[in-house]
Symmetry: C2
Amino acid sequence: MQLLKDRILSDGKYLGNGILKVDGFINHQVDPVLMDACGKELAECFKDSGATRVLTAEISGIAPAIMAARYLNLPVVYARKTKPVTMPNTVYLTIAPSHTKGRMVELIVSPEYLPRGEKVLIIDDFLASGETILGLVRLVEAAGCELVGVGTLIEKTFEKGRTMLEQFNVPVVSLAMISAMNEDGTIAFLDD
Amino acid sequence: MQLLKDRILSDGKYLGNGILKVDGFINHQVDPVLMDACGKELAECFKDSGATRVLTAEISGIAPAIMAARYLNLPVVYARKTKPVTMPNTVYLTIAPSHTKGRMVELIVSPEYLPRGEKVLIIDDFLASGETILGLVRLVEAAGCELVGVGTLIEKTFEKGRTMLEQFNVPVVSLAMISAMNEDGTIAFLDD
């Protein structure tokens, strides 16, 4: 998606150590018009997926997921990283490593909002190592639901997360596929 | 806003201890169509506020804030509760008590996204005691910005947060104003 790639080039910044700073338009300051356009594009990609529900992870998955879900007219569920007092005592919980936090995080979903038999589209901001998305897939499986697709804003193809997802045999769509982030700060896309 | 009040009555649940469970449509599962309608309504209320930026707090403020900001065509900044590696070392930080977490939480904004002189509209999911919103106002003041309004989805008028905000002399709008949550589970609105 050219709009997103252009924005990454103009406002993204490679900080080294595989960390791409996109907090000027995705995960601290958010450009809602860009997110809306990305959500519309992801919704178009998955309009025939049969999805009945969108699943994401707090925090930075919420903006793209809610925008895509609005176009698909589906509820969004975001996995919580801490269990709030409003959640029942028995939940679906998995742990996944967080690279930006440097530790394991919990991903928690209430069974109320992931009932058996739902067809689930996972939307997140990044596909990097795929660990967070694999965690979400484990929640989908624990709930007896079916994964029908995975959509993300930005994929770092060199972190091989896509390979980890092949086993599920569902469409995996990323709106911007970064093939290299170089020490001189330049960013290259797969399809350029 | 009748649509939101109807949804609170049909899907909200009073859990006791002042806790209203709305995680079926606002803060775990999200109804993006409802959030879009709420965002549109808040945007209409503040269209003449002169706001140049929307500020909210992660996590559950993100959905209403991004929808309102989309209609206002403004960037959203969400205060983080932990400092990610992508944030600079020097930030605006305040602490505020969280009732649902039962402890103090940090609210952190990067100076990059709250430059001096901005006119800030705060949007959040709840106005209860007002502590989180007061924390956001302190960040606005620390940044040398001007508060121009506060908009929330649900106000619990009996927790008196509105009184705390009177000192700022800006419009405070809540789309559903709950005046009582009773032990028998019934919920009453201020204007019914």
